[in-house]
Structures are given as structure tokens and as C-alpha cells.
């Protein structure tokens, strides 16, 4: 059974929003809000439908020929559904958050238009069934996020936008070259047809290794692998919902997801292992994890610290992939989801502190737990998850990473994990200490930098509830990891497909 309409409709829910939003006048913010939320809910429903169908073995395919030998292909598999689910869930939360965050600021129409385009691109990336289609939406993602990064329009934002483009467009070009070369070598390879490359035989191994490195370079820019990560901390000048989206699901994740596709669905884990590329991935991931954590430790401001933490955390995904064996795979895939949930929570909270209290630096956070308890609890949940404490989702990721390291016979990875967890603790625990145990303006010591009273609760409800919700999800993903439809269950499902020939 093949239903083509479902993936198309899922893409259309956000893609068609773009012209609609651009057609509405700037002041029609009520209608825009209703439209945005309806589309987000609708898409969540459609993705849920596909997940249900996917478990029952339904196949969703849509394809047409672009030029001879090149097809546009949507093909829904478990891995894609995981990413699509994450993207549509976080889109809903971030839409709500952005509505509250951008209240009364100029150019909201432009923001939400490109925001929808950005989410449409991530859905396209999730559903893409071959490298050509993936590349299409990968580049569209670059284009749609640029206006979001430079949204504020001041010189610093514009400079960050230029750096962002330099990195991502060069990466995109490399990816294009790699994909075209792969096409010239074997033709159109749909994701999952791993045997196609393996059948080429040992003569092609040198060529395949070179191509893998080119593709990895192209994808590594967005995944912020060291030393290709330079754009990420600078892109922090963007508004908080954009940072949240960029770090949790859109750009960084698209790169990581691309690497997952490359290793599992194009080359196949067996061939990658045979070519000796998994060791390379493990080394790159280790360097990135440790370097990102060290840099995060040196940051004095909240958002840059979170940004460098992203650099480090996303590489857990790459590290998981590089461990040959089911546990490593599960760890990488499950972290794709977990990191998204936890990081988005942290960014919402950082945005809330900035909006409500004007806090940007970490040393201004003293005693903020008393003034903004719910936000601070959410932040604490996210931070503990990042360190890897149970029952938050991050624990599951690290547990499986450890087991994967044993299974792959790479015990040194465990040392890396311990070191990185210690570093995570070293840069998150001082923040938590300041939040809860240091006396601050809420205790009558000093003053908040720029206090505003945005709403009935500790801050505006639009800003508060998304943060609380994603924090709850992070705990639930950890607590109920054993239940069906949890991220872990999905990741296990994908892994089973991968390792059973």
C-alpha cells in the first residue's frame, strides 16, 4: 500500500503557510497566530498518523523525475518519522513561544513567513528519500534561516548572517559536489539501498572514501563539527526562538541527521566500518565534544555557553553512530531526539530570563529561582539532563553510549564520556547554584538589569508554558523510555531495521 498524499500534505501544511503569511498584512497578528497554530497542530496530527501507519507497516512514497536519472523522492521510514515528529512537536512549542517573544516587535510577518519555510525545509529533510531530495531541502533550510538570523537588522546580526552564509553555502556546495559525484558513480541511490555501494567492490573503495569525506565536510558544517563550528556561536545574535529552533531541530540537527543518513542509509554501517571511517568519525566526535565543553566553560554569558554546549552535545549523536553495534546506533538516534527536547528547553529559559529580567550574563542570575521558579525548574531539568542524570532523557543517551562503547570494543570512549560529563557538570552546576542558592535581587540584594512584568505569572504565559512543556517532555522521554512510541522505542525500531539484513 502506498499513500503519496500523506507526506505531501505534511510538507504542504507548513509550505503553504508561507505565501499565506506573506499575503496577510503586518497588523493582522490575530489571524496570523490562529493560522500558525492551526498549521502546527495539523502537522503534528499528520505526522502522528504516519507514525501509526509506519508501525503497522504502511508505506508512504511519492516520486517524480526531475531530470533523466534524478528523481525527487519522498519516502517515509522510521528514521525520517523520528525527525519529523521532533520537528513538528518543537515547531508547535516554538511557534507559541515566538508569538509571545516577538509581541510588538517590527517585521513579524517576515519572521513568521521564513519561520514556516524553515520548518517546511526540516520536514522535507525528514521525509527525503534520496540524497538529491535531501540536498534540495538542506539548501532551502540555509536560505530560510538567513533572514531569521539577521532578523534584528543591526550590524552585529548582519555580520553574523554573513559568516553563517559563508559557512553554510560553502558546505552546501561541497555536499552538492559529493552528491553529483556519487550520482556519476552509481546513479540515483534511494535511502536504504545500502547494497548498491557495497556491490561496487574493493576497486571503488578509495573513491568512496574520498566521497564520504567530501559529504561529511558538507554536512559537518551544519552539524557544527569542530573545526567547522565557527558560525554557530555567532548566530546567537538571533532572537531566542530562532536560536532555540536552530540548535534543537533545524540547522544543527539537519547536519547531524544528514550524517546519520549518510552512514546508515547510503553507505551502510558495514561498508563504513570496512572503510575505516567509523574510527575517523569517533575521533572527530571526541574532539568536538571535549572542545565544545571547554569553550562553553569559558563563556561568561548564558546564550554563548549554551551555544558551545550544543557544539559538544550534537557530537554525541555522531559518537553514537561511530560505535559499531546496535547500542551505539540506538544511543546516537535517541540523542537526536533527547538533545532537541532538552536544548530547546534551555534556550526558552534563557530567553525568558532575558525578556523578563534583562539577564544576559551568568553572574546576573543570582537568586533568579525565587523570582521565576517555573522557568528555573525547567532550566534545571534541561541542565541535569545535559549532564546525564536520571530520570531526565539525557541519562538514557549516555547509558546507551556507554554500552555501545563496550559493544564496539572501544573502552576509551567511556573515558571521553566521563570527562565530558564532568565538563558538562562544571559549566551547568554553577548556573544552577546561582539560580537557587545565591541571594540576589529577589532576596533584596542588588537589582535586576531590566525588570519587566510581562504577565500574570512569573512572565508571559506564551513564554512560560512552552518551556515547562518541553521540560516535562524531557523527563517523560527518560521516565517512560520503555513504553511504545517513546524516542527510545523508535530508535530501537530503526536500529533493528538497520542490523537485520
Amino acid at each position: 500500500m502506498s499513500q503519496a498524499w500523506l507526506p505531501l500534505a505534511t510538507l504542504a501544511t507548513s509550505l503553504l503557510m508561507v505565501p499565506l503569511i506573506f499575503a496577510l498584512p503586518e497588523r493582522a497578528w490575530r489571524l496570523r497566530t490562529v493560522l500558525n497554530l492551526t498549521a502546527a497542530l495539523l502537522k503534528l496530527g499528520l505526522v502522528a498518523l504516519m507514525v501509526l501507519g509506519g508501525y503497522q507497516g504502511a508505506e508512504y512514497r511519492f516520486s517524480f523525475t526531475v531530470v533523466q536519472g534524478v528523481t525527487f523522492l519522498f519516502q517515509v521510514d522510521a528514521l525520517g518519522l523520528m525527525f519529523a515528529g521532533l520537528s513538528s512537536l518543537l515547531w508547535l512549542a516554538t511557534t507559541i513561544y515566538a508569538i509571545g517573544y516577538l509581541e510588538d516587535s517590527p517585521n513579524r510577518k517576515r519572521f513568521f513567513g521564513f519561520f514556516s519555510l524553515c520548518v517546511a525545509s526540516t520536514i522535507g529533510i525528514a521525509l527525503a528519500g534520496n540524497l538529491f531530495t535531501f540536498l534540495l531541502f538542506y539548501e532551502l533550510l540555509t536560505l530560510s534561516t538567513y533572514p531569521l538570523v539577521v532578523h534584528r537588522g543591526h550590524p552585529k546580526a548582519l555580520a553574523a548572517g554573513t559568516v553563517y552564509l559563508r559557512y553554510t553555502l560553502t558546505g552546501g556546495l561541497l555536499l552538492l559536489l559529493g552528491v553529483v559525484a556519487l550520482h556519476a558513480l552509481v546513479g540515483d541511490v534511494a535511502f536504504g539501498e545500502r547494497e548498491r555501494l557495497a556491490e561496487l567492490g574493493p576497486d571503488a573503495h578509495l573513491m568512496l572514501t574520498v566521497l564520504f569525506l567530501i559529504l561529511l565536510l558538507g554536512l559537518g558544517v551544519k552539524a557544527a563539527l569542530v573545526p567547522l563550528h565557527g558560525w554557530l556561536p555567532r548566530a546567537m545574535v538571533a532572537p531566542a526562538p530562532v536560536s532555540a529552533l536552530l540548535h534543537a531541530v533545524a540547522v544543527v540537527k539537519a547536519g547531524a541527521f544528514g550524517i546519520v543518513r549518510l552512514v546508515y542509509d547510503v553507505y551502510g554501517i558495514g561498508l563504513t566500518y570496512q572503510l575505516g571511517l567509523l574510527t575517523l568519525l569517533a575521533v572527530i566526535a571526541t574532539v568536538t565534544i571535549l572542545y565544545g565543553s571547554m569553550r562553553a566553560l569559558a563563556q561568561q554569558e548564558l546564550k554563548p555557553r549554551l551555544a558551545f554546549s550544543t557544539v559538544s552535545q550534537v557530537s554525541y549523536i555522531v559518537l553514537g553512530i561511530s560505535l559499531f553495534g546496535p547500542f551505539g546506533t540506538i544511543a546516537g538516534l535517541v540523542h537526536l531526539m533527547h538533545q532537541g527536547l532538552m536544548k530547546v528547553t534551555l534556550f526558552y529559559c534563557a530567553g525568558n530570563y532575558a525578556e523578563e529580567l534583562g539577564i544576559h550574563r551568568i553572574d546576573q542570575l543570582n537568586g533568579a529561582g525565587r523570582r521565576m521558579p517555573l522557568t528555573s525548574i525547567a532550566f534545571t531539568v534541561g541542565a541535569l539532563g545535559m549532564i546525564g542524570l536520571p530520570p531526565v532523557a539525557g541519562f538514557i543517551s549516555k547509558w546507551y553510549l556507554g554500552m555501545g562503547a563496550v559493544q564496539a570494543n572501544m573502552p576509551w570512549v567511556i573515558i571521553v564520556l566521563v570527562a565530558s560529563s564532568l565538563l558538562n557538570a562544571a559549566y551547568f552546576l554553577p548556573i544552577l547554584y546561582r539560580l537557587w542558592f545565591r541571594p540576589g535581587p529577589a532576596h533584596g540584594v542588588g537589582e535586576w538589569p531590566e525588570e519587566r512584568h510581562l504577565g500574570r505569572f512569573e512572565t508571559s504565559g506564551w513564554l512560560l508554558w512552552p518551556a515547562v512543556a518541553t521540560a516535562l517532555f524531557s523527563i517523560m522521554a527518560g521516565l517512560f523510555a520503555g513504553l511504545p512510541f517513546s524516542p527510545l522505542d523508535l530508535a530501537t525500531f530503526v536500529t533493528a531495521e538497520e542490523y537485520t539484513p
Binding site: 506573506f22 517524480f64 523525475t65 526531475v66 531530470v67 533523466q68 534524478v70 525527487f72 517590527p106 517585521n107 517576515r110 540536498l135 534540495l136 539548501e139 532551502l140 540555509t142 536560505l143 538567513y146 533572514p147 539577521v150 532578523h151 534584528r152 537588522g153 543591526h154 548582519l158 548572517g161 554573513t162 552564509l165 553555502l169 560553502t170 552546501g172 556546495l173 552538492l176 559536489l177 553529483v180 559525484a181 550520482h183 556519476a184
Partner: protein, 496 residues
């Protein structure tokens, strides 16, 4: 190559089937005269009337698609004219008519808002008609005489259009263009004379068989190509392009960049593929010129201070891609040249649509902000969002990012270059992408600048904005539906 160009078909004895071709050629001229007499002030009557040549083209298409490629022999006393039509001809005719239509539809609002009542206006219509007819003649021509007639008519019509604004810069630019066109024609004529003297014939199919490699052929081809490439603004003969565009009216600039330079390029491509199909030295020379054009044009566009200059220099860079495509067809293996063949035509179509759309959008932005410099764009994302969007969409195709026609074309060219192992051309294509992104985003960047006082924005008639958007969208979507025109190229009298 002869087969791909549709030159192998023998003409029918009967000339009764000629009427659709004559209609396709004659109707634009007639419309032009009609336009001069009625001076339309709205877009929709123009569009309705311009649908007429499209109907004629549809009928001609049916003839070609049903019966395969067509050829006609027209005897005018001692002269014999060879015309032919295959799927490629049809696509080029379609492109010409669509772009002429949009340009004509853009004109009424443009003339009334920006130019005001002036005498020169009436001439726009017949000159545009003459331009469309002469271009159609070039696409249809199968011999050097018809090609020469088409080329001269096109050049004269273009000069006339350039002179219309009547200002000193426009006159200077127009005169300069005329001079260049004459030099180009002279070189072309010399080449034709050499060929005629040596082999006593002018039809391309006959020349392809008769011509023997040797110094004479080489000199003739060099003269012909030099003249044509000068007219097509191919590097290093490109310097005249930007001043000409700076002074011309917006719809004229759009037509010129989208079609006129392509006409000369098409003739050059045809002659090279017919006369020296296997000369790999020529291939390397063309490729080197193309690569240099891509890089140098991109650099010029990146450094240009005026908005219109950026758009004009980007044409030089984009024509470089076409040259690279041509280079990949000369003296290469069949599979390489097949991919390059499709890539070249797709690039031509995508660039024509995108560039025309971009010129319209640029014209709107310059008119609205009253500033011709790139810096004047600050704040247009609020004042002129639609035209800026059109500009952005068109530039996606120029950079070659998905899903645009420019991207799919670049994909095909990259594939050809990779298969043939032409690493230099591959590098040039990659450099072109990065430079394209650099010059386009330099402009878009200014539009996001906030703060400072915003100037007043003049209102632009909506028909001008919509037409820019339509062309830009067409160039964007062409990338996804590219299989339709390309499959036509393969089946309908285009397959080797």
C-alpha cells in the same frame, strides 16, 4: 550534433505547411504596429493580444510534435533560404514569446508611471515586435544567410530600443552598442565570405558535410565566433554590457539580457557544433573563456556599486555557464555531451526567466526608492516586500540553489564535467556558485538593515510587481519540472 540541432531533416517539396511558421514570424511585427497605433495604457489588453502568436506557436508545435522535425526550403529568386523547426526551436520560440509578452505587459504601467508622456514611447511597440520576429528567425534559420538577416534585424531593433530614453547617456550607450554590433557583423560577414568562397554553399547541413578541417576553416570559425561572442557579451568582449543596461528602460534591459545576447550565443553554438564538432582545442578555448567569464563577471558584480550594474555583470557570469556547457559538447564523449546539451538549454531558459524577473524587480526597487545604488536599499523589506521577494527568488536561480532551474542546470553541467573529468570546469562552476551567492547576498543584506531614517517609498503599480514575481517563480519552479522540456528535446526530433 546535426541531428540534435534538427539540421539533418530534408525539406518537403510542398510549401503549404509554411503558413504556421510565417504566422509565428509575422504576428509579433503586426502586434508591434498595432501597439504603436493604439498605445495601450493597461496590461490586460496587451496580454490578450499577445496570446495570438502563442496560438500560432501551438499550431506549429502540433505540426512538429506529430510529424517530427520539419524543414523548409524557400526559394527567393537565386537565393535559397533553409528553415527548420524541431523541439529545441519550439522551446526557444516559446521562451521568446513568453518573455516578449511579459515585457510588453510590463510596459504600459512602466511608461505611464516612470517615463511620463514623451514622444519616444510609441516606438517601443514596433521595435519589440521586430526584436521578437528577428529572434524567431534566428531560432528557425538553417543557413548563414537567414542567420545574418536575423542577426542584423535583431541588432538594429536592439539599438533602436536602447536609444528610446533620449537622454545623453542613452544615446552614448546606444551608439556604442551600434558600433560594437557593426564590428561584430563585419567579422561575421568575413567568416561567411570565407566559407562561401571555399565551399560555395551557405546551408549549415551542407557545410557540415562539405567543410574540411584546415587553416581556412579555422580562420572562418574564429572570425564568425569572435563577431558573435562580441555581440553576446562573452568574456573578454563583455565590457560594453553594463553601461548599456544602466541607461536603457527596464523592459528593454530585461529583453536584452534575457534574449538578445542569447540569440548571438545560439548562432555561435550552432556554428561551432556544425563546423568543428570534434575539435577539442576549441573546447578547451571555449571552456577557458567560459570559466574566466564566470569568475570575472561574478567579481565585477560583487564590486559594483549600482544595483543595475550588479544585475548586468551577473549576466556576464551566467553566460560563462553557457560557454562551459558548449565547451563540454565540443570534442567530448557522447554521454558527457548529452548531459551538457540538456544542461545548457536549461541554463539558458532558467537564466532568461530569472534575469528578466530580476530586471523587473530591480526596476521596481530603483523606482520606488529613487536610489540607484545598492546602499539605497536599506529598509526595502518593509517598503517593497514583494519586489524584494521577486529579486530574492530570481537570485536563487542565478546562484544555482535548489529547487531552481539554475540548480538543475548546474547539476547537469557538473555531472557532465565530472564524467568527462574536466576538473577545471568543475572548479569554475563551484566558484561561480560562491561568487553568485556573494553578489546576491550583498544586496539582500542591505535590505535587512534596520534603524536610520527610512526614505519615502513611491508606490509601484501592482502589475509591475506581479510580473516580476511571476517570472521569478517560473525560474524557480523550472528546476522541478525540468524533465518536461528536456524529454521534449529528446523525443521530438532532437535525439541523435
Amino acid at each position: 550534433m546535426i541531428e540534435r540541432l534538427g539540421l539533418h531533416v530534408l525539406p518537403h517539396a510542398t510549401s503549404t505547411e509554411l503558413h504556421w511558421v510565417l504566422l509565428v514570424l509575422g504576428l509579433p511585427l503586426l502586434m508591434g504596429v498595432l501597439g504603436a497605433l493604439t498605445r495601450p495604457v493597461r496590461s490586460w489588453p496587451v496580454i490578450l493580444v499577445c496570446l495570438l502568436p502563442l496560438v500560432a506557436l501551438a499550431l506549429l508545435s502540433r505540426q512538429v510534435l506529430d510529424e517530427g522535425a520539419q524543414a523548409w526550403l524557400i526559394a527567393l529568386g537565386p537565393l535559397e533560404l533553409h528553415w527548420r523547426a524541431n523541439a529545441l526551436t519550439l522551446l526557444l520560440l516559446l521562451l521568446t514569446q513568453l518573455l516578449t509578452l511579459t515585457s510588453a505587459a510590463y510596459a504600459p504601467a512602466y511608461l505611464s508611471v516612470e517615463i511620463g508622456a514623451r514622444v519616444g514611447q510609441a516606438w517601443l511597440w514596433p521595435l519589440q515586435g521586430a526584436l521578437a520576429s528577428s529572434l524567431s528567425l534566428i531560432w528557425l534559420a538553417g543557413d548563414l544567410l537567414t542567420l545574418y538577416i536575423g542577426l542584423e534585424l535583431m541588432g538594429l531593433a536592439a539599438v533602436g530600443l536602447m536609444l528610446l530614453p533620449g537622454r545623453v547617456e542613452a544615446l552614448a550607450a546606444g551608439m556604442r552598442y551600434l558600433l560594437l554590433a557593426l564590428v561584430g557583423s563585419l567579422a561575421f560577414l568575413l567568416g561567411v565570405a570565407l566559407l562561401l568562397g571555399a565551399w560555395q554553399r551557405l546551408d549549415l547541413a551542407g557545410l557540415a558535410l562539405a567543410a574540411e578541417p584546415g587553416p581556412l576553416l579555422w580562420v572562418a570559425v574564429a572570425l564568425l565566433s569572435a563577431g558573435l561572442l562580441l555581440k553576446a557579451a562573452i568574456f573578454p568582449l563583455h565590457a560594453w554590457l553594463a553601461p548599456v543596461h544602466g541607461a536603457a528602460w527596464t523592459p528593454v534591459s530585461a529583453l536584452h539580457a534575457a534574449l538578445v545576447v542569447k540569440g548571438s550565443f545560439f548562432i555561435a553554438l550552432q556554428l561551432i557544433l556544425v563546423l568543428v564538432p570534434g575539435a577539442s582545442v576549441a573546447g578547451w578555448l571555449l571552456g577557458a573563456m567560459g570559466s574566466a567569464a564566470v569568475v570575472w563577471g561574478g567579481l565585477l558584480a560583487w564590486r559594483a556599486a549600482k544595483l543595475k550594474d550588479v544585475v548586468a555583470w551577473s549576466t556576464v557570469s551566467q553566460l560563462g555557464y553557457l560557454m562551459l556547457g558548449l565547451a563540454l559538447m565540443v570534442g567530448t564523449s557522447p554521454s558527457v555531451s548529452a548531459a551538457a546539451w540538456e544542461g545548457t538549454w536549461l541554463q539558458l531558459a532558467a537564466h532568461s526567466l530569472a534575469k528578466a524577473g530580476m530586471f523587473f524587480a530591480t526596476g521596481n526597487l530603483v523606482f520606488s526608492t529613487r536610489q540607484s545604488s545598492v546602499r539605497g536599499l536599506a529598509g526595502v523589506s518593509r517598503g517593497m516586500p514583494l519586489s524584494l521577494l521577486s529579486f530574492g527568488i530570481a537570485s536563487i536561480s542565478l546562484i544555482g540553489l535548489p529547487p531552481s532551474g539554475g540548480f538543475t542546470a548546474k547539476w547537469l553541467l557538473l555531472q557532465a564535467a565530472l564524467e568527462g573529468g574536466y576538473w577545471l570546469w568543475l572548479t569554475a562552476l563551484a566558484m561561480g556558485t560562491l561568487l553568485g551567492a556573494a553578489y546576491v547576498f550583498r544586496i539582500l543584506r542591505y535590505s535587512f538593515v534596520e534603524g536610520g531614517e527610512l526614505g519615502e517609498f513611491r508606490r509601484v503599480p501592482w502589475s509591475m510587481e506581479i510580473l516580476a514575481l511571476m517570472l521569478a517563480l517560473a525560474s524557480l519552479l523550472l528546476g522541478l519540472v525540468a524533465e518536461w522540456p528536456l524529454s521534449l528535446l529528446r523525443v521530438a526530433g532532437g535525439a541523435p
